[in-house]
């Protein structure tokens, strides 16, 4: 038992020495979370703004100019082009110089006056002119997020147009935003990024660490020594647990300092779920290492797991919006469960025990992974 611990410690120590000498890998341990956090924290923004659009103004009136200014003031769009006819505007749309075209009709002023929201002249409901919008958007609808942002302009208040106090109607619903009232994307992205970066580095490091021994011929020597498979596995993953925790500290620390992402939950709960997720990712890395025969293969398998972890785990797109089959696939990924756990703890201060299904899944995944890896790893060359 004691010698067993010594052997595990020997492997850990050796692994750390090698890591210390491998300056590039050591740099990546720090740089991956650092650079990616800053990059994604700033870059990923689900509030679409400043979409380049063109205006075709058939009205050419003071009112139309005020309308363009009012729309521009929402900051959703930026009027980068002006065209005299729709045809040339459409060409610009095709060439992707702009994402949408605002067409202002000649009878803008009549339409504005009759527009219901202004409550100016209240025409009969039978008057077919009543319901007419005052202008039209032609939108490149291929990107649903861009299209959605412009659709959001449909019910823009018009009162400002005539420097008249808004004729506010009572909204149907009152909406109160919890956990991220300012609607900053970083608040959602930063905790998610913990899961993505850990998935990437943990799976890659462990799978490569064992495959590298095999590639360099060290494995042939190791398996002729009295070391046991499980000792080798544990010795290999323990150093990376600390590396994983270091990366989490970097991401959440910077997230707090730079992006002002609060950590509402307890640090202890955060530590536990992170440790659990690191263990699950390392176990997956070990399984990969028993399948892959060279580092390129292990890298490819890591990417195979990484991509769905980014796209299906709820990091980028809401889990609820996915079709049922995709949800089943997502459920199998450790990243999906960690995404729920970490956002729960960091943003909503959810109690650990309220998320037991996810905790159970990650534990079962880790256990099965280590078992499978030890089972597959044989101390022979057959």
């Amino acid at each position: 038992m004691i010698t067993s611990l010594y052997r595990i410690q020997a492997i850990c120590f050796k692994e750390l020495m090698q890591l210390k000498r491998d300056k590039m890998t050591f740099a990546m341990v720090i740089m991956i979370p650092l650079v990616q956090l800053v990059l994604f924290g700033y870059a990923i923004n689900t509030n679409v703004r400043h979409i380049p659009v063109a205006v075709v103004d058939h009205s050419q009136s003071a009112l139309s100019r005020v309308l363009v200014q009012t729309v521009a003031a929402t900051q959703v769009v930026t009027f980068s082009h002006h065209f005299d006819d729709i045809k040339s505007a459409q060409e610009a749309l095709e060439q992707a110089q702009i994402r949408a075209i605002l067409i202002i009709p000649q009878d803008l002023s009549q339409r504005v006056v009759r527009h219901a929201s202004l409550g100016f002249a209240l025409p009969d409901s039978s008057d077919e002119q009543t319901g007419r919008p005052i202008a039209q958007w032609l939108v490149d609808g291929s990107d649903t997020m861009v299209a959605g942002a412009i659709k959001g302009l449909r019910n823009m208040p018009l009162a400002e147009l005539l420097s008249k106090p808004a004729n506010r109607s009572t909204p149907t619903f009152e909406v109160t935003l919890f956990y991220n009232p300012e609607q900053r994307s970083a608040v959602n992205i930063v905790p998610g990024l913990v899961g993505i970066i850990l998935t990437m580095t943990m799976i890659m490091f462990t799978s490569a660490a064992i495959v590298r021994e095999r590639e360099h011929g060290n494995m042939e020597m190791l398996i002729t020594t009295p070391i046991r498979s499980i000792e080798l596995m544990l010795g290999k993953i323990i150093p990376y647990i600390f590396i994983g925790l270091l990366q989490v500290a970097i991401i959440l620390g910077l997230g707090y300092l730079v992006f002002n992402v609060p950590i509402n939950g307890g640090l202890w709960a955060l530590f536990c779920i992170t440790l659990l997720f690191i263990a699950a990712s390392l176990a997956l890395g070990l399984v990969i290492s028993t399948i892959a025969t060279n580092q390129l293969q292990s890298m490819q398998m890591t990417i195979f797991v990484l991509l769905p972890s980014i796209l299906l785990s709820g990091f980028m797109f809401p889990y609820e919006g996915m079709p049922e089959i995709a949800q089943y696939i997502a459920e199998a990924l450790p990243a999906t469960h960690f995404m729920r756990l970490v956002r729960g703890v960091i943003l909503r201060d959810v109690c650990f025990t309220d998320m037991l299904p996810d905790v159970y899944w990650l534990s079962a995944f880790t256990f099965a992974g280590i078992l499978l890896a030890s089972f597959r790893f044989k101390k022979t060359l057959d």
Partner: protein, 312 residues
């Protein structure tokens, strides 16, 4: 007394075979290797030397056959064997990015050697193998000879009873090879049994006993002297002009195993079925008697005679 566990035999193999798909890497190999001796596997590349060693160390499971090493039955007792044996792989298998000392410390810990014992043993090895000056150097930056000495130090760190060396000198210059063999004899004298594979004749000749392997089959075994005495051929050297032409002429004859030129001489192996090789040669060529002489066979002659079937 059960012959299966004869105390002076350190390795016993019976009808040992290993197939990789259709390829018979080792075919019905019988081995009886004495304790406290250096035993050699001599054979060309791809003859099954490494496969045989891997089976005897428990790294590969035999397709059929029985193995007993140090009284342990393989592959079942492979784990027990690992404490008692050392294995030096063909390719350098320690860590290039650790220093000499770190590599040895790592191996020591794996074998459960700690503290003062560890320091003492490592210092012993460093001075035995002339690595004192190199202990802080990364293994990857050392020369072939130094790395091989480090590998031997690592393989003998836990003082194994049995040492397997798989082509230990393939990346080493002749002088280092000499020193290396001196060290092997030192180890042998201290009670270690050694099994070494090689494709160098001069190394094979240093072994107490050896087996000649070809295509996974044992062609001959015994001490080098025995093998040379029992060679199934006469070795004749001819001194003459026009040796290239003479050689072409001779190798056409079914009784001639092979002919190879050595400077101004032609060394001819003639099957032992020919009773008087000098008469035979004179009969078939036009050479005067005093330019033909029967010489003592070398191990290379034995090797060529044993493995000749493949060339024809």
């Amino acid at each position: 007394m059960n012959r299966d566990s004869a105390p002076d035999l350190i390795i016993q193999a019976k009808q040992l075979s290993r197939n990789f798909g259709d390829l018979k890497a080792i075919d019905k190999l019988d081995l009886n290797i004495d304790k406290n001796r250096i035993y050699g596997f001599l054979g060309p590349n791809g003859c099954g030397k490494t496969t045989a060693i891997r089976m005897l160390t428990g790294l590969l499971k035999p397709t059929s056959g029985e193995i007993r090493v140090l009284g342990l039955t393989l592959p079942q007792d492979a784990e027990k064997l690992r404490l008692k044996m050392g294995y030096m792989t063909q390719k350098f298998s320690l860590y290039d990015d650790l220093t000499v000392k770190e590599n040895l410390q790592f191996i020591a810990k794996i074998y459960g050697i700690f503290g003062a014992t560890q320091n003492k043993r490592i210092n012993e090895l460093l001075s035995t193998y002339g690595l004192n000056q190199k202990q802080q150097q990364l293994a990857g930056s050392m020369s072939g000879g130094q790395r091989q000495r480090l590998a031997l130090a690592a393989a003998t760190l836990h003082k194994p009873e049995l040492l397997f060396l798989d082509e230990p000198t393939s990346a080493v210059d002749p002088e280092n090879r000499r020193d290396f063999w001196e060290q092997l004899f030192d180890l042998c004298q201290q009670g270690t049994s050694i099994l070494v594979s090689t494709h160098y004749m001069d190394e094979a000749e240093r072994c107490h006993k050896l087996a000649i392997l070809e295509d996974g089959i044992k062609r001959a075994d015994g001490s080098p002297e025995q093998l040379m005495n029992n060679i199934a051929a006469h070795v004749v050297e001819i001194e003459a002009e026009g040796l290239r032409h003479l050689k072409q002429q001779l190798i056409q004859l079914p009784e001639v195993v092979t002919a190879a030129q050595l400077g101004a001489r032609l060394r001819v192996l003639i099957k032992s079925s020919v009773t008087n090789p000098i008469d035979f040669l004179q009969h078939h060529t036009e050479i005067v008697t005093n330019k033909i002489s029967i010489v003592r066979p070398s191990l290379e002659d034995v090797f060529i005679t044993c493995t000749g079937s493949r060339r024809q």
